[in-house]
């Protein structure tokens, strides 16, 4: 080639490469799809029921700072959408790594009826006339005409409750004799079991937000996000939404929703049934929307802790803040369309709102403790708000300890120091919730959470999460008894994920008295080597169960021993974490100054003498990616077999409620 031609080709190549670079690009397309992310048709990421509402959204970035995006068009299967659309830029309110002239286009509250895989496209025009297109896909899952339609769905959710947690509760609460269980857990008696894969949209290790919303929206969400797909804005309430099971069944069938938990009610598991947010921590806005959008979710029962969010900021104990509240602009289409298309309320920054009074004005009976809860007549009450603690309720071990002490006329227990001596147990809350929801003529969806199974597993506090699992199982028994009396109610027992890699390693070879001596002696040689009984030395730990249904003591001779596979550094002495000293005892450090040091992650406290180095940094155990067991009881239970995705659960629940129970496909075994 002559040199001049070579130069020409080089210049041409450079010019053409610049042309290829200089074009607008679609940086995000929602609902998420592999078609958009990697070009592959499968796996399908986003799935919806026929006519289940969801939002379309695209982020489009111009090719340089001087340009803007002037027009955006969405199409599904080639047909351009004529629904109202919003278009904003990122001059304000977007994530730090997003260019300020990025455009975000949204269409809100679409429903697609036709079953099958649908391809959707976004076409955008830049201010210089250049265009860009991108495509993604989603599936509408068709329902099969089945038999009996179930009226009520009860989702019993043991937070962090993997197989080991269930087994430990059975060993402690039910006991074994020569290898056979003496008293099964209620959840053990459910006839159908499957295994659930719990990954979130962005990790094999999920948290409680997508861990809940997968079950009740049919879709994967990012960690910390519930009922929404991720977006590029900072506002936690404007994300593209996915209609919840509660909302879908309330809209199409008039079903009611109940949410019962032992945690603060703003927490991810309860909120992930009714509130759409990319920030599970936005407490004020979350609790406001429980009430404001009850016409969408059908919320009729809300019980748990979290009273601090419901008090006006002028009242001591309130945690309300305008910084985590919600308020949609009525002039900016990006959020005003949420209001007009979803029918959501626009909200306002109102930290002085008296939310308890607003719930009462809306017809909710209010209960602040077990006594006031007992007084509610379920035959005359349509809605209940129960707020039994300012944040999380006390755990079962401490509630039971308080009740036993009160029977003996004693005070000064943990619940007394918390100012809340009369908190209900989860099974009592569940019974009351069912009593009210039972009267809903179109049926209900009820979610009941044993929240501190997870929270105490994070603390690697063995006895406290075991007792919380037993408390949760008593609530399972309440749900099962109700379903048995009705024959139109499906109950599932499941978990959002496993917590802390619980391992039932064996039994103590020594009595509790001897264990205390070994604790004083300290060290691995005493506390591990002389205590941990493996294999046949584990035997069958025997816990005596009191009349109240809980162990008389957790510090028994030859106790169950639990290790943690996802633990942080910790100190183990195998004994129940001490009920602390009463007031009046001498403190360890009297009137001495504290020491402080530069913020340094290498610091550890020194508490005991059997140090276990953790696999994870920090102070707490963590969630794991392990599959968890699901158990089902009632019509439609047979759907919950096999190794299933957590999003599959949503479609199985909907199939039974919307189109009727079908016999599952048991596979190609006849061939």
């Amino acid at each position: 080639m002559k040199p001049l031609n070579q130069i020409c080709w080089s210049v041409m190549g450079l010019w053409m490469s610049q042309m290829v670079l200089a074009a607008p690009s679609v940086t995000r397309l929602t609902p998420p799809s592999e078609m958009f992310s990697s070009g592959r048709d499968a796996p399908i990421i986003a799935r919806f029921l026929p006519d289940q509402r969801f939002d379309l959204q695209a982020s489009i970035r111009p090719d340089d700072d001087s340009k803007t995006i002037t027009k955006v068009e969405f199409a599904i299967n080639g047909k351009v959408l004529l629904e109202p659309q919003s278009l904003i830029d990122c001059a304000q309110g977007c994530l730090p790594n997003v260019a300020k002239n990025t455009a975000i286009a949204s269409v809100r509250a679409l429903g697609v009826k036709k079953p099958g895989v649908h391809v959707f496209t976004v076409s955008a025009t830049q201010s210089d006339g250049q265009t860009v297109q991108a495509k993604g896909n989603f599936e509408v899952v068709g329902l099969t005409k089945g038999g009996q339609k179930i009226k009520n769905i009860i989702i019993m959710l043991g937070d962090g409750m993997g197989a080991a947690q269930r087994t430990a509760a059975r060993i402690v609460g039910g006991g074994y004799a020569q290898g056979k269980v003496i008293e099964p857990l209620a959840m053990d008696t459910f006839p159908v079991t499957g295994m659930v894969k719990t990954a979130s949209l962005n990790s094999i290790v999920t948290d409680s937000a997508p861990g809940m919303s997968a079950y009740v929206s049919g879709n994967k969400n990012n960690n910390n996000e519930e009922g929404v797909f991720p977006d590029d804005t900072v506002d936690p309430f404007d994300n593209p939404r996915i209609e919840y099971l509660s909302e879908y069944l309330h809209r199409t069938q008039g079903k009611a929703l109940g949410v019962v938990t032992t945690s603060d009610v703003f927490d991810a598991t309860p909120a992930g049934n009714a509130v759409h947010t990319s920030n599970r921590g936005a407490g004020t806005g979350i609790v406001d929307q429980f009430l404001d959008d009850r016409h969408l979710s059908g919320l009729s029962v809300l019980m748990g802790g979290g009273r601090k969010w419901f008090l006006p900021s002028t009242e001591a104990g309130s945690a309300r803040s305008d910084k985590n509240d919600y308020a949609f602009s009525s002039t900016q289409a990006h959020t005003s369309l949420i209001v007009s298309q979803w029918g959501a309320k626009s909200g306002s920054l109102d930290k002085d709102r008296n939310l308890i009074a607003d719930f009462q004005a809306a017809g909710f009976a209010y209960a602040s403790n077990k006594s006031s809860l007992d007084q509610i007549d379920v035959n005359k009450t349509d809605q209940i708000l129960g707020l039994f603690a300012y944040s999380n309720m006390n755990v079962a071990l401490d509630k039971v300890d308080g009740r036993r002490a009160a029977l003996k006329g004693q005070k000064g227990r943990v619940v007394d120091d918390f100012g809340l001596p009369d908190q209900p147990m989860l099974d009592e809350m569940t019974k009351k919730a069912i009593g009210v929801l039972n009267r809903k003529k179109n049926g209900f969806v009820l979610m009941v959470e044993g929240a501190s199974i997870d929270k105490q597993a994070h603390n690697m506090d063995t006895e406290r999460w075991i007792l919380d699992t037993l408390e949760f199982d008593k609530a399972v028994q309440v749900a099962k008894a109700y379903a048995q009396s009705r024959r139109d109610t499906l109950v599932i027992v499941t978990a959002d994920h496993e917590c802390s890699g619980v391992a039932l390693i064996g039994g103590s070879m020594v009595s509790d008295a001897r264990l205390q001596e070994l604790t004083r002696a300290g060290g691995v040689e005493n506390l591990r080597n002389q205590v941990v009984g493996l294999y046949e030395k584990a035997g069958f730990p025997k816990y005596v169960i009191s009349a109240d249904g809980y162990p008389q003591s957790t510090d028994i001779d030859k106790r169950l021993l639990v290790g943690y596979g996802a633990n942080s550094d910790r100190f183990e002495d195998w004994r129940t974490n001490e009920l602390p000293l009463q007031d009046g005892q001498q403190p360890f450090v009297s009137k001495a100054p504290l020491s402080a040091h530069p913020a340094d992650p290498r610091f550890r406290d020194v508490e005991g003498r059997f140090e276990i180095t953790g696999q994870v940094p920090g102070n707490s155990g963590v969630h794991t990616a392990t599959d968890i067991p699901i158990s089902a009881f009632g019509p439609g239970a047979w759907a919950f077999t096999g190794v299933i995705d957590n999003t599959d659960v949503f479609f199985k629940l909907a199939q039974s409620a919307v189109a009727g129970v079908v016999t599952p496909d048991f596979g190609n075994w006849r061939k």
Partner: protein, 177 residues
């Protein structure tokens, strides 16, 4: 003195490094957690007791437990009537704290320091402050105790209390389980 890249310019040090010789600025009135709000708590919000209101701004002495956190904050810690561990990273504001937990604040000149966590009952003296305060991170507190900067022994490195007996406590104590 510069340690671990943190500048100590402007930070005041304890005049006496010997813990036993520390004396608070004023006579401290003893207050217990149960005395801040009327107990047991009512059905809605909390009500400060007359004793608490009278002590606002005064020097108080209180016994409690340092709250163990996943991600301790500099310049502050929380004191609780019972030992509590919170998973602030995993669970945020859905926590196991009692409503009468006290936010203990170091002097602003010491705001970059972590207070060494210790388990067990401790006793503090500081200036009591009541009323609503909200941080930039939307954390709301109602009871605060502000520590005397001279009451903090600043160390370059975190070290455990020494010596420890086999139970891990600083001084022998008769525990009732």
């Amino acid at each position: 003195m510069v340690a671990l890249g943190v500048s100590w310019v402007g930070v005041s040090f304890a005049q006496a490094q010997d813990p036993g010789s520390y004396k608070p600025p004023a006579a401290a009135v003893k207050v217990a957690f149960g005395e801040f709000f009327q107990m047991p708590f009512g059905p809605k919000g909390l009500t400060f007791t007359p004793k608490a209101k009278a002590l606002a701004g005064q020097w108080v002495s209180i016994k409690g437990y340092m709250v163990k956190m996943e991600q301790p904050l500099t310049g502050q810690f929380i004191l609780s009537p019972r030992p509590v561990e919170i998973n602030d990273h995993a669970d945020g504001d859905a926590n196991d704290l009692p409503a009468n937990a006290v936010l203990v604040l170091l002097d602003p000149t010491q705001s970059e320091a972590w207070v060494t966590y210790r388990s067990g009952l401790i006793e503090l003296q500081g200036q009591l402050e009541l009323g609503r305060q909200e941080t930039a991170q939307a954390q709301v507190s109602w009871i605060r105790i502000k520590l005397d900067p001279k009451g903090i022994v600043l160390q370059a490195h975190p070290t455990p209390l020494a010596p420890l007996n086999p139970m891990g406590h600083a001084t022998p104590i008769d525990l009732k389980h």
